[in-house]
Structure formats: C-alpha cells, structure tokens
C-alpha cells in the first residue's frame, strides 16, 4: 500500500518536475514524502525557507545543530579534568612514544590529529593489530561510555586500557610511572598537579616492568610487589590517565556546512541557505531525519545517542565473532577503574550510568556504540572493524538491513532508491568541519 502511494507521489513529482523544467527553473530531484507539504515544497512559488521545513522539522534540525551542543559538563570521576596544567601534561603524554613496549607507540599512533583522531585503518595497528578500529576522540568527552563495546566509563579509564594491552602499547604501569619519575619535566609537572610521586628508586620494590597484564613475567613481578607499592604505582598510573583525559577533553568538533545551513534557517537567511547546501544535500538531510531513520540513533548535536545498537554488521573474515556490548558491559562492571572504584573521584550519585547499566537483554549481543557522524566523510573506513570502506557501502547496508552474525538487528530495510542513497551520502559529506580546538592542542608539544 505504502509502495503504491509512493509510486503515485513519484509520478506526481515527475509531472511537477517536467513542469518546472519547462519553466526553465532547476529543481531538486525526486522527493518521496507523501504529503501535501511536499507538493508545496517543490512548487516554484515557495522556495522560501518556511516552506522547505515545517516547524517540527526545524525543531529537529535545531536539535542536531552544533549550536545545541551544551557546554562540556565536568567529569566527576576526574578531579583534574578541567585543570589546564593537567591538560598540558596530558598533551605531552599523549604524543610520547616512550609509553610503549617498543618505544614506537603513542596514543597519537592510532588517534592521529591529522586524521581527526582516527588512523584511517579498518583495524588499529600498534604493537599488533587490534580486532577493532580506532574510534575518533573528537567530542568523546560527552560520552558516558568508551570503546566500541563500552568497556570503560570514563576518558581516563579508556586512556589507560591500550597502554597495558599487549597488542597496543604493550607496556606496564610500573614501566610508565618510572618514565614519569625519571623525566624531570614530567616529574615536576606531575608533582605540581598531583603531589609527590612515591620514591620508586628501589628496583626490587618497583621493578622496571610490572603490571596486571597478559605477559606472565610482568604479571609475576607485579604479584610479587607489596600491596601498598602496587597501589602507589596504580595511583600514579591513574593520574597519567586523568591528565591525558584533561587533554582529550579539549578536542571538540567545529561547525560544518550543515551547521551553517541550520543557522541560516534559524535566522531566516534564505540566501545563505541556498548557497550553503545543494538541493541534493538538503534532500539527503530530509531523508536523514525521516525515511532513513538515521536520526533514531544518530541524534543530538554530535549525531550519536552514545548508546549500543545491533545493526547486523557482518563479521570480518578471519576474526572471531564479536559479542560487542554484552561482553563490554561485564568488563566495565569488573574494571578497577570504573566510576564506583577507589581510583575514581566520583561519588555514587555521580555514577548513575554504571549503577543502572543494562546487563541483560536481546539488545546487547552484537551491539556496538553509535559513533558520531561529524566528519564522517573524513574518517573512513566504517563500523567497529572497518567492515565498510565507503559511505556508500554503509548506506547500502542500512538500505538492505540483512541479518547480522549474532543477536537481533534493529534495522529494517529502507527501500531507498540509488538517487536517494546518493542524496544521503551528499548530506553526510556536509558534516565535515574544522575542529573547534586551538591548533596548538592538535600538535605534539615542542
């Protein structure tokens, strides 16, 4: 029934299109919104902005406009989160390859400022190759969850996890704390912010390499340390993470062409609207908030609800089945670095996301975190293991909505035409924009 209606509307639109062409006026390609308003919209008489978008649609567009992004709230789990001294130290740590097993890996290896804090690879490559891709850091300070499976619940806890992963930085917390201790600048900056480092000079008490990691020797060395020494090292290690997080909190998206279009719309500046987005991009935007259902999850000014959804993404050949959120949720609950743990500065009332986290349900197996779509055209490849190389492949996946390898996919086929998919892609390309971050923050410190 719906298809018949759609067909009728298309036929009607086609006749309008012919009429418009006869008049010699260019017009947007076919539209499929089956309403009186859509007839209004493509009428040559009503090019004005108030005819393009209804009040309800304008409210929706305002909700995803960057101007609706609230000031970044404090992170209660990180007492130095907004301390510029911590951000300055964190920036140095972020780019320093000494914090790795082979002296070649830093945070910036996989989260490169020049690539909008991604690495352009399907799966991150550091000491080894990870099973998943490196998500961007841009705007991630707004998220309650980190990693594709949300296995950490703060930026500082996230930053500490790759440092001890054997396939990422590959080192240990004792090693890293020694680096801080032995670098005069680091030690001075650290102690100004966090107070004195423990005396780490006794290598029998504080081995060069020791930590709760997969490497058996490093783990044995860690287990042999006194409990209070382990806690002292972990405290300093956590402070490193909190400094890195203070730095990462500065990395924010800036306005895109889409945002300039919405701003012009809100100001009633039709001329700017017309010169900012092409008719195809506007048509794609309409699909984004309507038939495409994109806005269900890619909502708010960062185009993400920061939630976890199963969209049936296929498994990458050669990789085991990825359980996604159902596994990540157990990891965050048991993490020593979670919001309720002793290294967090938050009180229980600040940890609602963790206290009321969903641990069971058909929604969780095969669910992955919804990424931001800001700068999406610049951050290929896509999905948690880079399954799709291009935006068009992504859109084809949503359009077909095939069942995934695990669990229950939330997608239903969209039945959009090739022309409509092209419009959606054109719109997604309008979401690129320079970061709203001081250029000095984006480069390794001198």
């Amino acid at each position: 029934m719906q298809r018949i209606t759609k067909l009728k509307v298309r036929l009607f639109n086609l006749s309008i299109l012919l009429f418009v062409m006869m008049l010699g006026i260019s017009c947007a390609p076919q539209r499929s919104a089956p309403s009186q308003q859509s007839q209004d919209r493509i009428s040559p008489e009503t090019e004005a902005s108030d005819a393009l978008w209804t009040a309800a649609e304008i409210a929706t567009l305002r909700s995803i406009w960057i101007g609706s992004l609230p000031p970044l709230p404090p992170d209660p789990s990180n007492f130095v989160g907004d301390d510029p001294r911590a951000a300055s130290l964190g920036q140095k740590l972020y780019f320093d390859t000494r914090f790795s097993a082979n002296g070649e890996v830093s945070c910036a290896t996989c989260h490169q400022p020049d690539l909008l804090f991604t690495d352009g690879l399907p799966r991150a490559e550091a000491i080894g190759t990870t099973p998943r891709g490196a998500p961007t850091i841009v705007g991630s300070a707004y998220s309650p969850w980190f990693f594709w499976d949300g296995r950490r619940d703060s930026q500082w806890a996230q930053a500490l996890t790759p440092l001890e992963s054997p396939i990422e930085h590959g080192g240990t917390r004792t090693q890293y704390v020694h680096v801080i201790d032995e670098d005069e600048t680091y030690r001075a900056e650290y102690e100004t912010i966090f107070g004195p480092l423990p005396d780490l000079s006794d290598r029998t008490r504080f081995p060069e390499v020791a930590g709760p990691v997969e490497d058996l020797e490093a783990r044995a060395a860690w287990d042999a340390m006194a409990l209070e020494d382990r806690e002292a090292v972990t405290r300093a290690y956590v402070n490193m993470g909190k400094a890195i997080a203070a730095y990462e909190r500065l990395v924010m998206p800036g306005p895109s062409r889409f945002d300039r279009y919405v701003q012009a719309l809100l100001e009633g500046d039709e001329e700017t609207m017309q010169t900012t987005l092409t008719p195809d991009e506007v048509a794609g935007l309409r699909l984004f908030i309507q038939q495409g259902n994109c806005i269900r999850c890619h909502n708010g000014p960062l185009f993400t609800n920061n939630g976890f959804h199963n969209i049936g993404v296929p498994t990458t050949e050669g990789l085991p089945l990825d359980l996604g959120r159902i596994s990540g949720v157990q990891q965050v609950i048991s993490s020593e670095f979670n919001c309720l743990g002793s290294y967090s500065d938050a009180g229980p009332d600040d940890c609602a996301e963790l206290r009321f986290v969903k641990t069971l349900g058909q929604e969780l197996p095969g669910a992955f975190k919804v990424p931001t779509l800001r700068n999406v055209a610049e951050t290929a490849p896509y999905m948690h293991s880079g399954q799709f190389a291009t935006l068009r492949e992504v859109l084809n996946h949503y359009n077909q909505a095939q069942a995934g390898p695990i669990g229950h996919s939330e997608l239903t086929p969209l039945n959009l035409s090739d022309a409509e998919l092209a419009q959606l892609e054109a719109f997604l390309r309008s979401l690129s924009g320079h970061l709203a971050t001081d250029p000095e923050v984006l480069a390794p410190p001198q």
Binding site: A55, T60, P144, I289, I295, C297, K358, E410
Partner: protein, 181 residues
C-alpha cells in the same frame, strides 16, 4: 499557496487538540473512583502530575505515534487497585540524559500506599527494544512516593514506562506512555 499551507497547519493543530481533549475525557472515565475534587487536590499537591507528557507534539519523528495514545501521567492500574502518578525530575524530559522520576501510589480512596515493592520496565513498542538502562525504584520517599532512578530515553518517539506494584499482598501494574522529541 502560503496561506493555503497556513490553514492546513492550523487545521491539523485543531484536529490534534480535538484528539487530545478526547483522550482526556476517556482518561477521566477510567478514573471513575476519583472524584473531580480529589483529582484537583492531587494535581495541586503534586504540581502538574496531571499534565500530559506529550510536550513535543508536532515534532518530526520517524514513526507515527498512535493518535489515540493516552499520555496522562496520573492513571489507574490495570485492575483498578492503585492510582499512580509519575513526575520526571528532569524538566523538560530530554533524550540521552540519565535521570530520575518520582512515582506516587495511592489507593482508589486516596490513601498513600507505603512499603510497596515496585518493578520498573519499559521501552519502545514500535522498535522492539527496551530502555537502554535498567531503571529501578531505589528509595521509598514516604507518603506514597518512590524514587525511580536510572531512566534514560535514547531516541525520539513513543516510549512505555511500566510499573509492577505489590503492596499488602495485592499486585497490579500500569503502563504509562511518554512521547519525546
């Protein structure tokens, strides 16, 4: 053309408000045991619990929300055992923010219900998924009030929030409808 569109919008608003008021009268029929006076008293005491949660009417959502949806925030439980009111402690209710609600339970005669065991559930009936969180009643606030923590809506549209209430050996349940931007 413009004025035609305007009249179209005005007309649909009129129809919409007619539907809303029809819903309102249906609700008061269901709430037979509560006299009008009692309803007024309760609404006065609980500041706006009688208001509809459908504050975002006219918003563009990807699903059509059923027109006859009862979005009243004060309703009788299914078997008529309790009258329940819900109030969001986040005003206005917004997507993607974890927040709490206050639940008020009373008997049809208007007596606050204390020491109730209350289970919370809900989700989006049109999307076949539940809440993104596990909301729970964490505290009895006294005088029939209970704190519901951990509520989060992560998309626009029609949400259900259900409560299974057991007190003094009597169990009953209620599902509220919430429509969000």
């Amino acid at each position: 053309m413009k004025s035609f569109r305007k009249s179209l919008v005005l007309g649909s608003l009129l129809i919409f408000s007619m539907i809303l008021s029809a819903c309102g009268s249906a609700t008061s029929l269901n709430e037979e045991p509560a006299t009008e006076q009692k309803m007024e008293e309760m609404e006065g005491a609980k500041e706006g619990t009688g208001e509809s949660m459908e504050g975002m009417e006219g918003m563009a959502t990807t699903d059509d929300v059923p027109a006859e949806l009862d979005t009243a925030t004060t309703r009788m439980t299914e078997q008529g055992t309790y009258q329940v009111s819900i109030t969001s402690n986040l005003d206005p209710v917004d997507i993607n923010q974890i927040h709490s609600w206050t639940l008020y339970v009373e008997t049809p005669e208007g007596q606050p219900v204390e020491n109730a065991k209350i289970a919370v559930d809900g989700g989006m009936p049109q999307h076949d998924h539940g809440f993104p969180t596990s909301p729970q009643v964490t505290k009895e606030l006294g005088d029939g009030e209970y704190l519901v923590e951990g509520v989060k809506f992560n998309m626009a549209g029609w949400w259900e929030m259900s409560f299974a209430i057991t007190a003094n050996g009597q169990s009953d349940s209620i599902t509220f409808n919430i429509v969000l931007q």
